[in-house]
């Protein structure tokens, strides 16, 4: 029997929330320069960077202001031209205060550091070696812009004994409301293609696959067109199912391999490296234009906003400035999420500065901002059927609630990727993910004490 060609996807679980892509037709807009920026020096996974400027120093746009500490760390740069006003603890999107360098703007335009190429020409020749590419990426302060913030040069450094066969590019953007990756794929195709080729060179491989959800057909077609003469790059349409853009699901869908569960679970253990399209663009700018990571595209959206759109924002800009650009905070606002409605976290204040890892801000009206009443578990099993990792959310929630953490560990609570499909689908509005997170925290503590004994 002839096998019908089916669109690729991950095989187990997932949900399909409504798209709400309110800003998908909005071209990327520039923003006026902010009055001041607060650049946190630990936006990444790894050791915090060390500031190398002092209060009162004048800095140019793109100037190094904090140096990475060790290998799993990264640099930070001034995103505007001005004076270092303070170096102190500032509230960030985690809800905690962390150290940041606050720069007050001087002048009305950027005074860039001299090495940056500001011309609009697309530079296709890649003249650097893979070693040079890795160190330029570190110097430019590039971390995973998909939200995880993992230093990108580390991803490109393959340890002994491990092999990378595939480069996977994440253009899925499966969260509702978010469109920054989509607009990037429509507007900066040539740069993305060169960026991918740079990464291929750094990894010394020649297979790259771009995964895009099928609700973005025009981006898929444009990228296919852009890469048609480059056999190393494939573009694959994926089924519209959340969490298609999750690392594990993407690797499974594109190359049918399963990243092992934590603690070992990284894409390198499945022979691949995964990069978000935003990171790819930043890598292009860093290598070909010597431009450090000082700005990124952010979708600012919400049903009550006057001008929801996709903005090019300087790192460290207070989110309030971006909201004002989108027409100001609506009166009925209930929550502001950093990220999408599935996995995003609510922000404590609107003055929080934009971190490198924030690609979307969703303003949820008050009427939608609170959860419905929690009812009893009716054992319908819907949470089990939607979990993409084959866990049983009803069970690990109950175990966490009752303190049965050893059993929770046996039931693989640590495998949970916190995608929130379970909480989304539960007909009794049970706080499944909240208790699972609690359980994970406690089980991790138990493991740490156990392993250090």
């Amino acid at each position: 029997m002839k096998k019908t060609k089916q669109i690729k996807s991950f095989p187990q679980g997932g949900v399909h929330p409504p798209d709400f892509k309110l800003t998908d037709q909005k071209q990327i807009e520039n923003m006026p320069l902010p009055e001041k920026v607060a650049i946190h020096i630990s936006q990444h996974i790894g050791k915090p960077a060390n500031p190398i400027v002092k209060v009162g120093d004048k800095v140019k746009t793109g100037q190094l202001i904090a140096k990475g500490d060790g290998f799993i760390s990264t640099n930070y740069h001034a995103s505007i031209t001005g004076t270092v006003q303070k170096i102190e603890d500032v509230l960030d999107q985690t809800g905690y205060k962390n150290k940041a360098v606050i720069i007050k703007r001087e002048g009305t335009t950027d005074d860039w550091i001299p090495e940056v190429d500001l011309t609009p020409a697309i530079i296709k020749d890649i003249t650097y070696s893979s070693e040079e590419i890795r160190s330029k990426i570190y110097e430019a302060g590039i971390i995973g812009l998909g939200g995880a913030g993992f230093p990108s040069h580390v991803k490109l450094s393959v340890p002994d004994g491990k092999k990378i066969e595939f480069l996977l590019i994440n253009g899925v953007e499966c969260e509702p409301y978010l469109t920054s990756d989509y607009r990037l794929m429509l507007e900066k195709i040539e740069q993305l293609i060169v960026g991918i080729q740079i990464i291929l060179k750094a990894l010394d491989i020649n297979r790259a696959i771009i995964g895009i959800e099928a609700n973005k057909m025009d981006a898929i077609l444009k990228l296919k067109e852009g890469a048609k003469d480059i056999p190393q790059i494939d573009v694959v349409a994926l089924r519209v199912q959340y969490p298609q853009g999750g690392e594990r699901q993407l690797v499974k869908a594109l190359i049918n391999r399963e990243i092992p569960p934590p603690p070992k679970g990284l894409p390198i253990d499945a022979g691949c490296a995964v990069f978000n399209v935003g990171t790819v663009y930043a890598i292009y700018e860093a290598i070909q234009k010597n431009k450090p990571l000082i700005e990124r595209i952010v979708t600012l959206t919400g049903q009550s906003l006057k001008n929801p759109s996709n903005f090019l924002v300087r790192i460290g800009t207070p989110i309030k400035d971006v909201i004002d650009q989108a027409g100001g905070l609506p009166d009925d606002s209930g929550k502001i999420l950093s990220g999408g409605p599935m996995m995003g976290k609510a922000l404590a204040k609107i003055e929080i500065p934009l971190a490198k890892t924030i690609g979307g801000l969703v303003i949820i009206p008050e009427s939608q901002a609170t959860r419905n009443e929690v009812l009893e578990c009716i054992r319908c099993g819907k949470c089990v059927s939607v979990c993409p990792l084959g866990l049983e959310p009803y069970l690990i929630m109950a175990l966490s609630q009752k303190g049965a953490f050893d059993r929770a560990e046996q039931e693989k609570i640590l495998n949970c990727c916190e995608c929130a499909c379970c909480s989304y689908i539960c007909p009794s509005n049970r706080p499944l993910l909240d208790y699972i997170r609690l359980g994970k925290t406690v089980v991790n503590q138990i493991k740490r004490t156990r392993d250090t004994k």
């Binding site: 499974k252 399963e258 092992p260 679970g265 009716i378 059927s385």
Partner: protein, 311 residues
């Protein structure tokens, strides 16, 4: 919850046609008593907020009534509802906490305590609006069980039984909601369309009844009824679609559901062919309800990353 009530309406319509007004009144009485008992227990005994608006007591009442003969004395209906709601559901903690299907516990209680009333069925298609129903008749399963015990072969009994078409449509004696496979299937399709239940339990249960009874029939066609007869009579369809699929008392994973469905089917056939009762579905389901925790313990979904595809 309310989708389930809608799915049960075709069977209600058929029950009026086959058993008359009394069937409808039994259903109403069962529903009202179930809701009233739940309300009283919640508000005055347990002193918690009442949850009767979630519809679960209504469904328990309907399903209990569907498992009763329409000529059952009124008092037994009320008693059955009390056992179903008060003992099988509320005493375990209410919705979501009961290990056994409440409607079936109610029915099993009535069957054990009032066997005569629970095994005298009215003659079908007699009168619609009268409530006087003194004339009883045996159900097809009853005829076969008795006949074979008396030494007759299945083929000899066939003239006394309705045709397969009549069995499918529901023109036979039996409990209020179980007779019409046709009406129940409409409900099944509606529930599948609304994604309220999945196919796993009904299909595996009916298939295993069919296959196991088929094996016996093939081995000795005069001793054993054919499999089509088995799935169209008694409570197989009602049980497969509405009772075994109850969320609270059924397994949580597809693999668990299939094991559960197959086991219920096997037990049903074994009780029917070798047990003292002509009908085995309710006991089969209740027995398997008891096994659900262990099924859940051993039937886990595939944990991503632990299998052959892991790198």
């Amino acid at each position: 919850m309310y989708s389930v009530i809608i799915a049960l309406i075709p069977a209600l319509a058929v029950s009026f046609f086959i058993f008359g007004l009394r069937a409808i009144l039994v259903v109403l009485l069962a529903v009202i008593s179930a809701v009233v008992f739940e309300y009283i227990i919640q508000r005055y005994v347990l002193k918690v907020p009442a949850t009767i608006s979630d519809g679960s007591a209504v469904i328990t009442g309907i399903l209990l009534a569907y498992n009763l003969p329409s000529n059952i004395p009124w008092g037994l209906v009320i008693l059955g509802s009390f056992v179903a709601i008060g003992i099988a559901k509320m005493s375990f903690g209410g919705l979501g906490k009961n290990p056994f299907n409440p409607a079936l516990v109610g029915r099993a209680f009535l069957l054990a305590s009032f066997p005569v009333a629970m095994t005298s069925w009215p003659k079908p298609l007699l009168h619609r609006l009268s409530l006087m129903d003194g004339i009883t008749a045996a159900t097809p399963l009853g005829i076969v069980k008795e006949g074979i015990k008396n030494g007759q072969t299945f083929n000899e009994l066939v003239p006394q039984l309705p045709t397969y078409w009549d069995l499918f449509m529901g023109k036979m004696g039996g409990c209020i909601g179980e007779v019409s496979t046709f009406a129940l299937l409409i409900g099944f399709l509606y529930l599948l369309y609304k994604k309220v239940i999945s196919w796993h339990i009904p299909v595996s249960m009916v298939a295993s009844v069919f296959i196991l009874s088929g094996i016996f029939w093939l081995s000795n066609p005069s001793q054993y009824p054919d499999p089509l007869f088995h799935i169209l009579t008694g409570g197989v369809m009602l049980g497969a679609i509405f009772m075994a699929t109850d969320y609270v008392t059924s397994p949580m994973t597809p693999r668990g559901m299939i094991i559960y469905g197959i086991s219920i089917g096997i037990l049903t056939v074994v009780i029917r062919l070798f047990g003292a009762y002509p009908e085995g579905v309710s006991f089969a389901i209740l027995i398997m309800n008891g096994f659900v925790p262990i099924i859940n313990r051993y039937c886990k979904p595939y944990r991503f990353g632990e299998g052959k595809q892991r790198a």
